[in-house]
Symmetry: C2
Subunit: 409 residues, 2 copies
């Protein structure tokens, strides 16, 4: 028996995708007019469903389940990257709306309700996970004052558009028992395996380094090879060494990337005098991250012996976040009850659950991304997979409410 | 006995360096107000010395030795790169002025004079070696119409500043017997060897390739390593292979450079979807250039087997230019007469002599560059070396005039 209304779910997702619509995708950057419009639309939907909805002064929208003392919180974010897809974030929010709405329709008194949340700026147009960090009281006022968009717009100026909203919504530990977030996978693994439900074991830790090299800019026609201090070649050799040695140092799910490199002065006929590249690596296991970091730092030090000077500066160190085992099992059991064998997998991307998971039990469910695409207008998931994901989430929520009600969790 | 006036030579070089002065250097980009002012200054100096001077409609300045049927042409260019040095180009022009001036002062009728030239835009702010190519009728009107500065200013618009100048000065094969150009080395070899005069055997050929790679941009957290099509890593590996294998393929004086690389989209958390880098290599021997090119093209083809597509596009193929043996010997003999053992060396940089050398016998003399620096305000040469270089050139010119006069060359 269906726990949710599939047609209504799809219709709401499509209607939300119309706000900030950009071809097949959506441009709904945090605190843009489209973002704020979407949050007002969501409050309307929440109220129509019987939830007590309000927006706070950072733009978080919270829908409170009526007559419940405690609640499972379900949600995600409604902001997008520039020129983003229609499901990244929106899927988890509308799932939450539909699960709560269907539960209210099903009736039956319960002291454990389903609260629904749409966090602000998960994508970090100003400050990554601003909304969930605000909700968990995990962001300082100094950070908020310092945050700016890529174009230099201060966050506090952008927040002025919300001046009439209420005070910041903080998590209430007495009420909110756990957090569940559904999301598109944003990767190709489920599709490649032919599976439809991912159960997230944890969110990987991320370490990011800026690796700089200082050599000497010289005329590339007149300076003999033996007399050069070529910053570019030193970085190319280091990149190749990383590619050769990381597989032996990392685990089976380790990923790493050199996404950018810049050489100066950058002319065909000038030996690069200095340069830098960005390295990041991700894994769910902190000791693996440590091993990779030790490797890189040793190779950088080794490459510095000689006429070249290299240095590595950590620009981000995000620790891994484990998802709660009992929530993962609840999602897996619900998938199995729908005839699906789930894939247990780390999330290689960051999510609001990464923040929430440090303050309460959290769990995540993935649905497949067609072609692994996301952060792009081509991002998509089949309607069948969208509906299945919501059914599985609703089933997991129903079981958890029951268990929480009876105190068996 | 000195053939030139050392104090006057230095004073003229310093005075010319005052036009477009920028700290210890000079900014006298072709067709800028400073460039045009310098050319008018030069005409004044030429006329004061007794040369018949004029500027043509591309800005070439030519000083004709009076009462001579034939002439040795001596010169270089007075334009600079942006934020350039005080000697690159200017040295060879003022040497020409001083050699001709001293010859006129020394008197004695001669049917072989010393003509002096300052070519336009050797540095290629609009069109590399525009002046020498115009002089040799080696540039088409279509090229001139198409040429633009890096900022998009069309050459023909910049040339409007010269509208009142005379028609283009063309080489007169009956008159001009050969071309001599002195220049700073722009490299560290003379200084490293402790020698003061370089005799240029030829100007290296240059081949330049844009090597592109197309892969696929993916989320660097969610895409397993085995499923990536990383355009950046393919370029890094190719660069490393070039560095490892070029020494075995090239000659002792081969140089090569990867001066620039760009990855797109260029974000820390996105696998590079495409990228490109610039490779150039230089050698005096065309068969060496062929071997290097075959190597690169084979490695590019090899790297393309798989999910990545690489391609190499030749963006420049400048053939080597040999300097005339009898001119090199004349310079070497003059150096020896001054107690200096010269270094025979290829020029790794391009010069106007590269153009002239295809149309008449040409020779070049190098003086040391302190620290090998050039194209920079720090570019410098000791006054002693500047004076010695001009003495050696004057001595070589004197011997050549004598030989040409008597028909022994």
């Amino acid at each position: 028996m269906a726990l949710i209304n599939a047609a209504r779910l799809i219709a709401d997702l499509r209607e939300l995708a119309g706000i900030g619509k950009l071809g097949t995708g959506v441009d709904r950057v945090a605190l843009s007019p489209a973002d704020i419009e979407a949050r007002h639309w969501l409050m309307g939907r929440m109220r129509a469903a019987g939830l007590a909805a309000r927006m706070d002064s950072v733009g978080n929208v919270y829908g409170r389940y009526p007559d419940a003392e405690r609640a499972i919180l379900v949600g995600s974010h409604t902001d997008t990257v520039p020129q983003g897809g229609w499901l990244d974030g929106a899927l988890g929010v509308v799932y939450g709306l539909e699960v709560a709405r269907a539960a209210l329709e099903a009736g039956g008194a319960s002291r454990v309700g389903v609260d629904v949340v749409a966090f602000q700026d998960e994508e970090g147009s100003f400050l990554p996970c601003l909304g969930s960090r605000s909700f968990c009281e995990d962001v300082t006022e100094a950070e908020i004052r310092a945050a700016k968009s890529k174009d230099g717009l201060p966050l506090i100026e952008a927040l002025a558009a919300l001046r009439n909203e209420g005070p910041r919504i903080r998590r209430d530990p007495q009420r909110v028992l756990c957090y569940l977030e559904a999301h598109i996978e944003q990767g190709p693994r489920l599709e490649a395996l032919g599976r439809r439900i991912g159960v997230v074991t944890g969110l990987v830790g991320i370490r990011r380094f800026r690796i700089g090299c200082r050599g000497q800019a010289d005329h590339a026609g007149t300076t003999p090879m033996a007399m050069r201090k070529d910053a570019g070649m030193a970085l190319f050799r280091l990149a190749t060494r990383i590619a050769d040695e990381f597989p032996g140092l990392g685990g089976p799910d380790t990923v790493w990337n050199i996404g950018n490199v810049a050489l100066r002065p950058g002319a065909a006929n000038v030996v690069p005098g200095d340069g830098e590249m960005t390295l990041e690596f991700r894994d769910i296991d902190p000791s693996t991250l440590d091993r990779l970091e030790q490797g890189v730092l040793a190779w950088v030090a080794e490459a510095s012996r000689g006429p070249l000077s290299l240095h590595a500066e950590a620009t981000a160190r995000i620790p891994p976040t484990r998802m709660a085992e009992h929530l993962a099992q609840a999602i897996a059991a619900a998938a199995a009850a729908h005839g699906e064998e789930p894939v247990f997998m780390p999330s290689g991307a960051g999510h609001d659950a990464m923040v929430l998971g440090r303050f309460m039990p959290a769990g995540m469910l993935f649905v497949p991304s067609i072609g692994g695409r996301s952060h792009d207008v081509a991002e998509d998931t089949s309607e069948a997979d969208i509906v299945l994901g919501c059914e599985v989430l609703a089933a997991a929520v129903a079981k958890l409410r029951q268990a929480l009600e009876t105190g068996s969790v």
